[in-house]
Symmetry: C2
Subunit: 348 residues, 2 copies
């Protein structure tokens, strides 16, 4: 738990708002040519010249999107950046800047925010984005993080959700379901810890799952990979809420149907074994788990030879006409209607 | 109180996240040429061509930045947009787009969010900005609003905080202190209401103050006015935390000092009379009150004839060398050091 981890505790009120912002952002360096002015004025100034600007934003709330009893703040900062960059990459664009706003209650000492910002800084460095602004304020209860990510792309390289055409192939990067199972493992350990604070968990066999949950990586590489393979997707979306939900978005926007093949869904061996242990259906986990931050896209059939040997990419289905519906073809070769059961943050 | 006002109550969970976003954003129209794609994909797509892009973000938290017991949600939505546009205008830029993220607890029915979005929509229409994205999620307690505003400007017309030079004149738009006093009046009425819910307040004499607090207007007009007067400010900042704090920011960034004349600070007659009633010093209120959303800027002395007859603009001081310090020249002609006592959202 966050309050116990820090031996040194500096109250946020000692610094004040501007002192706090200065302190937390002093290590952020400007790397992008498009950043004319970063933090320090009323607004940042960016210059995209003849590129298009891509803009996306996400809000993460303690107790809704994350649980600080098992999420280290540094990982949380890192993940909050990933969640946003993933949306930029899903446009087939290059991420260039982010803004970071946080609201935090006074139970957090300065050292906790330093951890959070260290994660943000690490993500920004690795993914080569500039932190150009934000806001820091107090909250009456927990921690909230609002990140906006900006990217750029040539007009012709942008990929939207609505471009999938009949007979296109449906492709996914990486594998699915691990992040959700990582969360299940962490939730279970939390209950064990509550019952017996001296228990020593052995989480080695779950390390891939836990890493996918706590420190996901946005697929910056897919744009570059596809460019190298000379493939331009016809449509693309990132998988944040679960494969099922994203397939439905893509098909609805593109006014097409799909046959998605259950047996083709890429699963890590740790997903399969942990599903057995937790008595969960691995297909359901992949379809509805969410937080994988992989990319789902469609390509023309003629591009199949270019991608088929690539271990990062798996063809999981093909696009049909709209009337044929959005269907999952099961291992038993039955076609069932896909239903979005992705994670719903608006719940009772 | 918000729960009592709505006879019709629709639970947010009935709609789900995507249904809610669709419902709330269905009236938003795209007006700006620079908006290529608004809401509906992983990210918005904007095109600033040869203009620079300006970007700013603010986070508003229930219980910290606003009290829903006297702030109507429609006004809150409107104000949240103003707070951000003000930062764009303080760059001497034109606001073009906003993103709106909200986190909301389930005590809010759909009808409450409709009110909030109606205010956002009204502001977007009047100020000619497109709503191009956002996020909607649940919170464990109150309401949070995170808005990012984007603007554009020619490189040569941008005005930063660091350009003030010795002998420049310090100018402020509008008048100061009214928003803070409006808040004091509303706080007092809240206490009266608590003691006697049947009391009928007569707030006519405070209408200007209350409007400045509940429905501030960002100074979109100042950029146009200054252009028409052929004046380019040497530095500019918006007044959100209080005149004192902003003067210190401007001088520190520009590495200059200032003589700010107490007698020149523009005050509305309602500010003066209400300060007397509340036994507050009107200069202190103007210096530290905050939330005025006026623009503070410096101009070359030679531009003085161009602005001196304008009722929107008041010269309140002149820039000195850095060594002379940041000083307030009182009505008694004493120079005292200015101290930032603006509102601090990071407090115990």
């Amino acid at each position: 738990m966050i309050e116990d981890k820090n031996t040194s505790r500096t109250s946020l009120s000692e610094l004040g708002e501007f002192g706090l912002i200065d302190h937390l952002t002093k290590n952020f360096e400007i790397q992008q040519e498009s950043t004319i002015l970063g933090i320090g004025d009323d607004a940042a100034v960016l210059d995209f010249k003849d590129k298009k600007c891509v803009l996306t934003t996400d809000l993460l709330i303690e107790g809704v999107h994350f649980d600080l009893s098992y999420v280290p703040l540094k990982h949380l900062g890192y993940k909050a950046v990933m969640v946003n960059l993933s949306d930029v990459y899903a446009m087939n664009a290059t991420a260039t800047q982010i803004t970071v706003s946080i609201a935090v209650s006074n139970r957090f000492p300065l050292e906790a925010l330093e951890e959070l910002y260290a994660g943000i800084e690490t993500a920004a460095k690795i993914y080569n984005v500039d932190v150009v602004g934000g806001d820091t304020t107090s909250s009456t209860t927990g921690l909230m993080i609002s990140i906006t990510a900006i990217g750029q792309a040539d007009k012709d390289s942008l990929v939207y959700r609505d471009g999938a055409g009949e007979n296109d192939l449906l492709v996914v990067s990486g594998d699915l379901g691990a992040a959700y199972l990582g969360l299940q493992v962490l939730e279970r350990e939390k209950q064990v810890y509550k019952a017996n604070p001296n228990s020593q968990p052995d989480l080695d066999q779950y390390s891939y799952l836990i890493e996918r949950q706590l420190k996901p990586e946005a697929r910056k590489d897919i744009k570059e990979l596809l460019k190298a393979l000379d493939v331009k997707p016809t449509s693309m979306i990132d998988i944040s809420d679960g494969l099922s939900s994203e397939v439905i978005h893509l098909c609805t926007k593109s006014k097409v149907g799909v046959n998605l093949y259950e047996e083709k869904i890429p699963l890590d061996p740790a997903v399969i074994s942990t599903c057995e242990e937790f008595k969960l259906n691995s297909t359901t986990v992949a379809l509805s788990g969410g937080e994988d931050y992989e990319l789902l896209f469609t390509i023309k059939q003629e591009d199949f030879p270019k991608i088929k040997a690539n271990p990062n990419l798996t063809v999981i289905g093909h696009i049909t006409d709209e009337k044929s519906g959005i269907g999952l073809v099961t291992r038993a070769n039955e076609k069932i209607q896909l239903v979005a059961q992705g994670w719903n943050p608006i719940k009772e």
